[in-house]
């Protein structure tokens, strides 16, 4: 038993590391360290669970990818705001490289995408809100390949964006 406990203690000492706490803030209350963002058009596929139809047909959307340093994953979803308006859609971790995590946010409503809008990110309440460097440039959103648009029967990105104006 003593040997086992010692082994466990060794394991603990070797592995123990609480999430970083800056400025005395609780780790879950700290604003995220947002580095930059990019945007690209994506196909949102049709989806159903049994008879519950979530999306009858594929549609076009824009995925905003925000790179964050030292991201602390949690139960609560992060929130992206474009021009101060929350994007109420799906978000997920789409990549990790070193201490940089890429968070993806799906924008399904073109009216949310305003030229020159500021992008802000919060991981919990408003106290965690930070501005992501850069501004939204609609011309910089990477479109789908034309053959993919055609195959899916989706409008071109620029036409879709105009629906929101």
């Amino acid at each position: 038993m003593r040997t086992t406990m010692l082994a466990c203690l060794f394991l603990a000492v070797g592995a123990s590391k609480e999430a970083p706490m800056d400025g005395g803030l609780h780790p879950y209350q700290q604003p995220p360290k947002a580095r930059d963002f990019s945007a690209e058009a994506v196909v949102i596929p049709s989806q159903a669970i049994g008879k519950t139809v979530i999306r009858a047909q594929p549609s076009l959307g824009v995925e905003i990818k925000v790179r964050v340093e030292d991201y602390l994953p949690r139960g609560r979803e992060p929130t992206l705001l474009i021009g101060g308006v929350p994007v109420e859609g799906r978000s997920w971790v789409s990549g990790t490289e070193g201490n940089v995590t890429t968070l993806s946010f799906l924008v399904e409503k073109p009216e949310l995408l305003k030229e020159g809008a500021e992008v802000t990110l919060q991981t919990a309440d408003e106290a965690t809100r930070v501005r992501v460097p850069g501004k939204l440039q609609l011309g910089q959103i990477k479109p789908l390949q034309p053959e993919e648009e055609k195959r899916q029967g989706l409008p071109p990105l620029q036409g879709w964006l105009k629906q929101g104006r």
């Binding site: 000492v13 592995a15 590391k17 609480e18 596929p45 991201y71 799906r90 997920w92 789409s94 201490n99």
Partner: protein, 568 residues
């Protein structure tokens, strides 16, 4: 690649450090004796559901790396490719230890799923060596052990590939649900035919007609999703009970709702899911008028945080990247927090899957579980069998109840109206609520009454045993906690006979004042008054002819009310 040896070491270490005396298996009784014992348990067991049962605890693990792709229907592109099917298992055994033969008979299956957390130290990477992965699924061994000692096969899933992950094509909540269902399919195979990795160890030993699911955080939403998908797609797993611990409720496309008995354990000092969105799942489950109704319960624990329900997420256990997320006053210790879980989650599954009905008083808030006398806990509960006088969900009409009876109030109420008892949206009273329901707000500064009438055809309540209502004092500066106030609940018969039971609203013990720490929340809990109490002062009170329910308020106060009902 397998990480079983590493996981086994973690199992030993974490069990030792948990220091859970209740996890020690006795060494003398057989499981056959156990079943006899369960049938003859004394009523006092309702207060000690975490007490270890009579069975030996067998231990096992399974690990199928890259077992399957999670691919949405109609697509050929995996949303989650190469998903591992890995879990730790505790089961009733003929002797304690790894791989021991399973005790005789068939045993109900309980499957647990953790939530979102780092997958590798300390990031969302999925590329670290298996031995370095964060063993998120090993943090519930304190529950698995007790469940196994009471005859359950208890499984905790490692959701590695659906943690810190996601896809446009399938939310990680749905993915979690589908991963749970994949594990259930494995257990079905092991019961019917056996198979790797343990041959026939579990052949004929799994009671697949009694399956329970439990999930923590996003895992809570995941197990609710599993029950939903199982039903929606006709998969046929007999899931009979669902528990969610500090769950999320945030899939943007589907609001998952269980249609089986549901138990929600909610931590008031949750600093992760700090908006307590999981409370909405209680309100949405078995709504009034829903085609399938079942019982539901909620336990609201002051001072409990998000992470301490999982020992791997608890700093004192020494696993990397753990933290104490809790904030606010009145925190409870991590040990007490896990005892709360054990004293409620274990009884829930024993009650629902083993017919241990004498845990009813626990879920009605009539007994305090052993060791938890100093923890402030409040219950909400709704029985499957009930007569809903007013659920306040049938339109924004304060003058008519859900039975169609008239609602009247004395003229001096400061506030008398219905509102959305939610955190956001239209028609809010204030944003201190966290639920998903429509309810009544009453404010008074002098003696006032509120009366809700039962139509003539609805006045026989002799088949019920209690009057219940959900009530909570509202968080507002004009409603200070120490203001003297009281409530008398009265039943009036057709002949005008009145009988009443009184409550002191000034304290927190019968009707909680809102939790002012952690951002401020107003939470409704259930006050349940046995009909026998109404007859104590009036034995002639005829339950065949109850004309109305009267709420009589004194002093000064402001409360929210929902779900006035006669219940079992």
């Amino acid at each position: 690649m397998s990480n079983v040896p590493r996981a086994a070491a973690w199992t030993v270490c974490l069990s030792l450090w948990a220091g859970v005396a209740w996890a020690k298996a006795p060494t003398t009784r057989s499981s056959e004796t156990a079943r006899a014992t369960k049938m003859s348990r004394s009523p006092t067991d309702a207060a000690d559901g975490c007490r270890p049962g009579p069975d030996f605890i067998g231990t096992a693990e399974y690990n199928f790396e890259d077992e399957f792709d999670l691919t949405p229907a109609g697509s050929t592109t995996p949303a989650y490719p190469g998903v591992d099917v890995r879990a730790v298992v505790r089961y009733p055994a003929k002797a304690a230890g790894a791989g021991q033969p399973v005790a005789g008979g068939r045993h109900p299956l309980v499957v647990l799923l953790h939530g979102n957390h780092v997958t590798c130290p300390c990031s969302c990477s999925h590329t670290c060596a298996p031995a370095s992965r964060i063993p998120n699924h090993l943090g519930y061994n304190y529950l698995l052990d007790v469940l196994a000692s009471w005859g359950f096969i208890a499984v905790s899933i490692d959701g590695f590939d659906v943690t810190c992950a996601g896809s446009i094509a399938m939310s990680d909540y749905e993915a979690r649900g589908r991963l749970v269902l994949r594990h259930l399919a494995k257990w079905k195979d092991w019961h019917t035919a056996g198979g790797a990795p343990w041959g026939k160890l579990f052949k004929g030993r799994v009671d697949l007609s009694h399956i329970g699911l439990s999930g923590h955080s996003r895992g809570g939403e995941g197990v609710v999703a599993a029950e939903f998908i199982n039903r929606a797609e006709g998969l046929g797993f007999q899931i009979e009970a669902v528990n969610a611990i500090a769950p999320t409720d945030q899939d943007p496309n589907v609001r998952f709702v269980p249609q089986v008995p549901y138990f929600l354990l909610l931590a008031a000092s949750d600093g992760d899911v700090s908006n307590l969105q999981g409370l909405r799942t209680y309100d949405r489950t078995s709504l009034g008028g829903a085609p399938v109704q079942s019982e539901k319960a909620m336990l609201w624990v002051y001072g409990a945080n998000h992470n301490f329900f999982n020992t791997v997420w608890t700093p004192s256990f020494g696993v990397a990247c753990a933290s104490d997320d809790g904030f606010g006053d009145g925190r409870v210790s991590e040990q007490l927090q896990r005892l709360v879980a054990c004293q409620s989650v274990v009884p829930f599954f024993r009650m629902q899957l083993q017919d241990a009905s004498d845990f009813g008083p626990l879920f009605r808030g009539e007994v305090v579980a052993q060791g938890l006398g100093g923890v402030r806990m409040y219950w909400a509960r709704q029985d499957a069998v009930r007569k809903e006088i007013d659920n306040f969900d049938t339109g924004d009409d304060r003058t008519t109840n859900s039975l169609g009876g008239a609602v009247t109030a004395s003229g001096g109420l400061v506030t008398f109206d219905e509102f959305e008892l939610k955190a956001s949206g239209p028609d809010l009273f204030n944003p201190s609520f966290r639920g998903f329901t429509h309810g009544l707000v009453l404010g008074w500064s002098s003696p006032q009454t509120y009366e809700s009438a039962l139509p003539a055809a609805q006045r026989n309540v002799s088949g019920y045993s209690a009057l219940a209502l959900r009530i909570g004092q509202i968080l507002e500066t004009a409603n200070p906690v120490d203001t003297p106030r009281s409530l008398r609940v009265k039943l009036k018969t057709g002949a005008g006979v009145v009988s009443s039971v009184g409550f002191d609203l000034s304290g927190v013990e019968s009707v909680p004042y809102p939790y002012e720490s952690n951002g401020g929340k107003t939470v409704l809990t259930t006050v349940r008054i046995p009909l026998a109490d109404f007859r104590k002062g009036n034995a002639a009170l005829p339950l065949l002819d109850i004309q109305s329910v009267i709420l009589e308020f004194h002093g000064t106060g402001l409360v929210a009310i929902d779900d006035i009902q006669f219940t079992k």
